[in-house]
């Protein structure tokens, strides 16, 4: 991953003490991270992050579990270090829970559909199948 390729700043004291804490294990031993986002110093500050985390969480309710997953990915340091970032943490944790629940539901429905097939659904299966659905409504061939 590209993050690990970033060279840590030299120890001559030119830079912020923990400005490039990344998600690798050596960083954890230094203590709480300074940056809540996974991009480190290139990402958001803590004050901006609260707004973003909240907005991502709220928008995720529009049937957007991928946005919740993105929320967790982006604020990964918040999840890893429990005591830090008390304002951001609730949103990220709730996003993670929401994403897991939604994915479990969607996954089970998709698997049931795929594995069950015609035996389970009888003629409705054919209608719900995507390529038949597309053919029926003429969705292909736009390209």
């Amino acid at each position: 991953m590209e993050r690990s390729e970033e060279a840590l700043p030299d120890s001559a004291g030119l830079v912020l003490p923990s400005s490039t804490i990344t998600a690798n294990s050596s960083a954890n031993s230094r203590g709480p991270p300074q940056w809540p986002t996974i991009d480190g110093p290139l990402g958001l500050s803590e004050e901006d992050s609260i707004e973003y985390a909240r907005r991502f969480f709220k928008f995720g309710f529009l049937f957007l579990p991928w946005l919740w997953a993105l929320n967790c990915f982006y604020f990964w340091p918040v999840l890893r270090h429990s005591p830090s970032f008390p304002h951001i943490r609730p949103y990220v944790v709730r996003s993670a829970i929401g994403f897991t629940v939604f994915t479990a539901l969607l996954g089970s429905w998709a698997l049931t559909f795929a594995i069950g097939g015609e035996r389970l659904f009888s003629h409705v299966w054919d209608e719900l199948l995507m390529y038949n659905f597309a053919d029926k409504y003429g969705l292909t061939g736009w390209i």
Partner: protein, 416 residues
């Protein structure tokens, strides 16, 4: 500890890493397009070639029974029309930028990426599902597509999203548009590539070229051009302060303080090469929408920016922050380059994999040459011509000469 006594990072680490960070996504995009072309085109060979009707084929629709000369003439006509349309749209864009309609341009970018992700992405996903006979139902499919599209538009639209996600979505958009371009007839595609690279050369280097005007406007106003631009992660140079690794649009006060503090220590022992070298490579590419959809043209702009300095004087640093062009060493490559490189390789894939390897190497070599020229000339240079010309040359040579050689050797069990 004296800064001068520390060994500088080798050229491989500093420059090489920056180049790798731009070559990797270009390679990934090309690889994905090759995979798409291989999967989707083995099943239906010519059934799609007649169904495309776009701006690029408005003058002439290629028929496989036409003579070579007719095909060439038709392809030239098509490319001419396309280049004229692209030029007109680019001038219109420069006009809009001149009148500071940046909001409109941003919304237009978001809208066009929505179109690409939703419709082209949906179409291609549908084709994949059909070809692979994947038993997915419409609810799941539409939900996944909806998620993908909305998050993609957010990633492209919002500048403060996870870098990895933005980069990933830009690569995906490039891949989708490139695949769409490979659906054009063969002769038209090749002549179009050559025509676009010539247009690029003209638009960036000629004094009246639209892209040159755009770059000069952006520099004079210290603004960022609103465009779909892939920005590589900045490389953290050892000798520069940590605060310099912030992206250009960050205006945090604490960031400036840290940059200043870093540079104040650094200014005590300025290394020799302390001036900023900044160069631009700009180009505009546009994709024609399907006429049935009457979709607006999608603009792509290319902007390769290379930061060669190892350290920055504090005054210059503040000036650069004012210019807003990124005091970090990030290389930016616009999406048009991604698209046209991938179109070239995708078209080569439609013939055989041998041409794919040859064209890939040609394009990467061209990209390297372009970056070197950038370092030498340090002004706006077009990124498309060298790579595309090399790519087309290698394709022709491979198809005409190398293939015969390799096939004969293999048949006679000599090599390969």
């Amino acid at each position: 500890m004296d800064q001068n006594s520390r060994p500088r990072r080798t050229i491989l680490e500093s420059l090489g890493e920056e180049i790798i960070r731009i070559i990797t996504p270009v390679s990934i995009c090309m690889f994905l397009v090759v995979i798409l072309v291989s999967i989707l085109n083995t099943n239906n060979d010519s059934s799609f070639s007649q169904s495309i009707s776009t701006i690029a084929t408005v003058a002439y629709t290629e028929d496989s029974s036409d003579s070579t000369w007719d095909k060439l003439k038709g392809a030239l006509l098509n490319s001419l029309v396309f280049v004229v349309v692209v030029t007109a749209v680019t001038f219109f864009l420069v006009l809009l930028f001149y009148f500071r309609c940046t909001k409109f341009l941003k919304y237009y970018m978001g809208f066009s990426s929505f179109l690409v992700l939703a419709f082209t992405g949906g179409e291609i996903a549908l084709l994949l599902v059909q070809d692979l006979s994947f038993p997915v139902d419409c609810v799941t499919f539409l939900l996944v597509l909806y998620n993908f599209t909305v998050v993609g538009v957010l990633a492209v639209f919002m500048s403060k999203m996870a870098i990895f996600v933005t980069q990933g979505y830009l690569v995906v958009i490039g891949m989708l548009v490139a695949y769409w371009f490979t659906l054009l007839p063969e002769w038209t595609t090749w002549v179009l590539l050559v025509a676009m690279s010539l247009y690029d050369l003209a638009a960036v280097l000629l004094p009246g070229g639209p892209l040159r005007l755009l770059v000069e406007l952006a520099i004079s106003r210290d603004e960022d051009i609103p465009a779909l631009v892939y920005e590589a992660r900045p490389v953290n140079h050892h000798n520069s302060g940590g605060g310099l690794t912030q992206r250009s649009w960050r205006r945090r006060s604490s960031g400036n303080e840290s940059a200043n503090s870093g540079c104040n220590v650094g200014s005590a022992h300025l290394p020799s090469g302390s001036s900023e070298n900044r160069a631009y490579v700009e180009e505009v590419g546009a994709a024609g929408g399907d006429s049935a959809l009457s979709a607006p043209l999608i603009e792509r702009r290319i902007d390769v920016q290379m930061h060669l300095a190892e350290d920055v004087v504090p005054g210059e640093n503040l000036a650069l922050e004012g210019i807003g062009l990124g005091s970090s060493g990030a290389i930016k490559l616009g999406l048009g380059d991604f698209i046209f490189y991938s179109v070239l390789v995708g078209r080569a894939a439609m013939y055989d994999f041998m041409t794919v390897y040859a064209c890939y190497l040609a394009i990467i070599a061209g990209l390297g040459i372009t970056l070197m020229l950038l370092a030498v000339y340090q002004k706006a240079l077009p990124a498309l011509p060298v790579s595309v010309m090399l790519g087309v040359l290698f394709y022709l040579l491979t198809r005409l000469l190398l293939e015969a050689f390799v096939v004969e050797c293999s048949i006679n069990l000599l090599m390969f």
